[in-house]
Subunit: 422 residues, 2 copies
């Protein structure tokens, strides 16, 4: 029998304990051994939990129990769980964690400390979708050309509502909060940080690259307005918060930002709170993985898959899926300003002669050529909104152009820029 | 160093050898050891192959070579590869195969013979999509409620063309043949047999059930006509050849047939030659896997993922993903006539009084209630086509009703029935 201790018995922890009980026969047949949760640790023992296991408030109750084989860490935070996992590894216990923030900062430390002791983290990215396993095992023959993920259900829910129902940002945020899809302080989700943590984990498996959140471009969805949605619809795009890792001339681009995506692409068809990841491999081409990115039972499904795999195989491969020499030999991050993309710009200007000419001149001077331009009659006949899409250019050039445009006397607001991912 | 021998160096075999060479550094870093293809076996040595390995025409050249660790079987057929794989296992060599026909008949024999020797078969279902691994590992916490797969690219290409461009069956078949998507004798694909082989493999992992092709309902796409396509479009459906495994009152339904699928479902959005599999688990809900179901490099991607996994872990779990007691304890197949579904019927009748009343009476008598009915004015004013969709009923009842309808004097052709998968 394999004994499990769960540190952090919240929504996911309760699901893990309850599913391991409910599907015990099935899971044992698959794992080849009986798996039993013997202890849970919580910070506040007075709070009621819907589980059938003894609860304690000291992690050492699990860490110092030599009969426990696998420690499941579901407590959240970064430094405290890092200490707990380190102690578990030191005690030669296998570890399963769903903690993306911890991994965003400490995944390489953990791989090093763990050595041959298994660490599973399937639940840390895209909830119930087995994307870690797909990257580590299913796509192991491939040089990964690109990963494009919808990794935050809150943002995807909000953007889907805005596009399908024309609801504006503030309204849909309020609705998402009422439904429990968004936190009271939604910054971590809508600002792109949650998706960035997950992207960093995926990119380490794909490229072996050790980047931290502060190293990469992260933009949220807060600036997206009805005008942008209408432009997207008119020109056949959807708007998604994309987490992108891709190879670009032997370097790696890592970025999280809203993007206009051609609506015929599979990734554009992932709507509502669902997550999806498109992976382009040099042999296989595109494969895509779709499913629930959050929720107690869905996340528990991923946690338990790690447990089953550890029971079956022990450590079948190093935590991040590769051994030395590191995949990342010679791979460096592309500087934020050296990204290449197509861009969409929204400009709010005084409606007067010469405006368009001045803007067009700035774009031309910065080596940016226009693909689509749209100006609609405005309600306010002294102001106009100009919308334009560019051909591919350098991020540095578009930022310079935006800077120049914003300093024009007749431009009366911040220029909004959204990258286009064709 | 791990040495590989490939039996059958056709399109996929050449891709396997060439990708293992091209991505050698990457794949070695992931597997933890260098992997080298040392020999290939072909039936006709005079045919030129684009590979850098010595070729032989006798499988024993590989089977009797004690330095070879893994035998990759890519020859096609059933009995001959079965003998070769048995000999490889007897010689304690790990095996990787892409042979779905072999597995459709002999997967349980192979699991028994293999014991602890690894057998990989990721490439046997849905080409480059790592669906075997998702079911064996990623979803191992779940009781699988249903699998719905688009597992045959030829059929999906043809149906997509018929729907998007209104091309008729014969025309699109010819086009698919010219593009190399369909064989000169297309029966194996368009008749649903290829999809059925793959479904049987998936259903064994999900349910541990040992069925053969002849045990299950298999219908192809040959009877689908423009009228059906138009009905589908009018009522918000797509038409897909679905391979379905699902639990139904403690029994298992296995069936392959064309189905009208609500066009808003993710599985309905998988178009062209691509494959996709929707899996419903009791904890995770729906996850979906999308990608290329065929092609040399895509299939080789799956073959190599098995090789890497074998090199990393050896046998991490039994071939079909479970140990005794078998999952299939107490699980039996639902009889074909006991399936429950909604149905669409197309009837070609004389346009005369009383026709509709007689048909409606037959449906009512068989406990079938109508959900949608459509009769359009006909070019031929003596004949009419009636299209109808039913509420859920038993297959037995709909078959009886069709039998009765076909015996009516004014019904002048076979009634066409397509199941509806809402």
């Amino acid at each position: 029998m394999i004994k499990i201790g769960i540190v952090g018995v919240g929504t996911v922890g309760q699901s893990v304990a309850n599913i391991l009980e409910k599907n015990k026969k099935l899971i044992s047949a698959r794992a080849g051994k009986e798996i039993t949760v013997v202890k849970g640790v919580v910070s506040d023992l007075s709070k009621k939990r819907d589980v059938n296991i003894p609860l304690f408030d000291d992690p050492n109750e699990i860490l110092d129990d030599d009969s426990i084989d696998i420690v499941v860490e579901l407590m959240g935070g970064t430094e405290k769980p890092f200490e707990i996992i380190k102690k578990a590894l030191y005690k030669k216990k296998a570890v399963v964690t769903a903690n993306k923030a911890l991994l965003a900062y400490h995944r390489f430390d953990l791989q090093k400390i763990a050595g041959d002791i298994p660490i599973g983290y399937e639940a840390s990215v895209a909830g119930g979708i087995p994307i870690i396993n797909a990257l580590k095992v299913g796509l192991s023959a491939n040089e990964i050309m690109a990963i494009k993920g919808i990794l935050n259900g809150t943002c995807n829910y909000m953007l889907t509502k805005m596009i399908e129902e024309g609801v504006n940002y503030d309204e849909v945020l309020k609705e998402a909060q009422e439904l429990g899809y968004a936190e009271a302080d939604p910054t971590f989700d809508v600002g792109g940080f949650d998706a960035a943590h997950k992207l960093l984990i995926l990119s380490s498996i794909a490229y072996g690259i050790d980047a931290k959140p502060e190293d990469i471009l992260i933009e949220g969805i807060e600036e997206i307005k009805k005008d942008d949605i209408e432009f997207a619809k008119e020109f056949g795009y959807s708007i998604k918060l994309l987490a992108i890792a891709k190879k670009n001339n032997g370097k790696i681009e890592l970025r999280v930002h809203p993007a206009l995506v051609n609506k015929d692409k599979m990734i554009a068809k992932i709507d509502g709170v669902m997550n999806g990841i498109s992976v382009i491999g040099d042999c296989v081409g595109e494969t895509l993985y779709y499913g629930p990115g959050a929720g107690g039972d869905a996340t528990a499904s991923a946690v338990i898959s790690d447990i089953v795999e550890i029971v079956r195989a022990g450590q079948s491969s190093p935590m991040l899926g590769f051994k030395k020499p590191f995949l990342s030999e010679n791979l460096t991050l592309v500087q934020k300003v050296d990204i290449h993309s197509e861009y969409y710009l929204r400009m709010f200007v005084n409606d007067e002669p010469g405006v368009l000419a001045s803007i067009a001149e700035i774009l031309g001077k910065n080596a940016i050529s226009i693909e689509t331009f749209l100006q609609r009659p405005s309600d306010n006949n002294k102001k106009a909104t100009l919308l334009c899409a560019t051909h591919e250019c350098r991020e540095r050039d578009i930022l310079n152009a935006i800077n120049d445009i914003e300093s024009l006397p007749f431009v009366s607001a911040k220029v909004v820029m959204i990258r286009i991912d064709k």
